[in-house]
């Protein structure tokens, strides 16, 4: 049975010792930080460029696979709570 944790905006909530649930704002902040660290642009700009197709050709190529990794983290920026 799936238990539903309590999440407060902007606060990192622990369900129990093993489960960790991020509030949506915390997830967006972490995504932005990860993108800035690897790409030097904001998370929002990264998503804009991805949706525009700028990364489609290179994200699975050697030397650029960190882009593919960041693409898979996009749901972190799109949580709605």
């Amino acid at each position: 049975m799936v238990s539903v944790p309590t999440v407060a905006d902007g606060v990192l909530i622990k369900e129990d010792e093993d489960d960790l649930f991020l509030a949506p704002e915390e997830g967006r902040r972490m995504f932005d930080a990860a993108v800035r660290d690897r790409m030097g642009i904001s998370g929002e700009e990264f998503i804009r460029r991805w949706e525009a197709g700028e990364y489609w050709e290179i994200s699975d190529r050697e030397g650029f696979r960190h882009i593919g990794d960041l693409i898979m983290l996009i749901p972190l920026a799109r949580q709605d709570g």
């Binding site: 991020l22 699975d60 996009i74």
Partner: protein
Amino acid sequence: MACVATQPLQVTGYRLGIEPHTLAFIPPGRPALLRTENGAMDFALTIEESYLVVQDGSSAFDVQRVGYRYTLLHRTGQEIIAYHWHPAGVSSVTHPHVHVSGTNRVGSPDQPRSITLGDKHITTGFVSLADIVLLIIVEFGVTPRRPDWRSVLEAAAG
């Protein structure tokens, strides 16, 4: 993952829906450092899994994996080996595959040839996170963090 790493995992959701959720280390984008048998932190691991929360028609819920990226790196950030499955992405490669970094030099001295493997999509079967943990312990000498790691991985593999 507790068999080899202390870095916690995060998930982005637990609700039914058509948009996949993501499982990854926290903080995202930071590889989990792995200790090897000589005590050094020689390797690191990144994982991303896409999943859907599904319902089988009754009241039971389940998690369905719909994509993954498991990457073993040297601690300097250089990619060593990367297992991918991204059937829903923009890549034309939708089957599970592995990228092996590096270049093989083949041929004869007077006709040498270099084959770069890193961009090759080498077909694999589906691999699980348990498979990756087993790989890095057995083949790369990563030190397991718990003595019952074999039984834990066997149970995870179902």
